[in-house]
Symmetry: C2
Subunit: 109 residues, 2 copies
DNA sequence: TGTTTTCCCATCGTCTCTCGATGGGAGTAT
DNA sequence: ATACTCCCATCGAGAGACGATGGGAAAACA
């Protein structure tokens, strides 16, 4: 692994979670993740936008153009019903994985 | 991500941890991970052996041929001093990431 | 004895993901 | 005017995980 700002395989889940409460634009999602994670999760634009394309393709989010709070053209993403299901499912699977990994990492050594 | 048996980016750490207490052969590492994780971590051979090659190349493990408990030819892997450092470092970084992700996932939604 | 099962090694090709670099455009502040 | 911030997006490289594949040798079974 080279330099990694986020754990591979978790980005879609994180984005969906960011949108669970309210719609956000791409830039806003990145800001939100950085803030809530206390500067640990710094998702770059070249990871973010491809991820959003994936989510759109899968029907987990939908997008609409609008204006940002700063009066700029922005694309707002909203989570869909299918997206919420996906979020729940990915969440469960993630917890399962983390639990397993922690059993390994916590084993007497 | 298609079907994923392990969290991407965590395999090297898991292998190093498997070897922290005692040397094991490849097959044994896979068995160990499956057992300790209670059948969650099922690392296939096509993930495992390339990972072991990586670890060898990086000097984090060393290998020697021997005989398994079942009287079969087996390649035993031992963690090196550098490997232990790497394990500690990856461990810390992993905890940092998980903490961050959980702050996001736990945020009021 | 012959066949199957279990144990153990390893690679190749494909797919997916992340990221640095790049290239816009349009408000706002200097 | 110029720079800075905000906001969009793609491309190419590099890496990791995995299904498929192909051994080989001991043990169990028929």
């Amino acid at each position: 692994m080279g330099k990694q700002e986020i754990l591979p395989g978790t980005l879609d889940m994180l984005i969906l979670k960011s949108l669970a409460r309210e719609k956000r634009h791409g830039y806003g999602i990145a800001e939100y993740l950085k803030a809530v994670s206390e500067d640990v999760l710094e998702v770059g634009e070249s990871s973010l936008y491809p991820a959003l394309q994936r989510l759109l393709l899968n029907g987990w989010v939908k997008a609409e153009w609008g204006a940002s709070e700063n009066n700029r053209r922005a694309r707002y993403y909203t989570i869909t019903a299918a997206g919420r299901k996906q979020l729940a499912s990915e969440s469960r699977e993630f917890d399962r994985m983390i639990g397993a990994i922690q059993r390994v990492m916590g084993a007497a050594s």
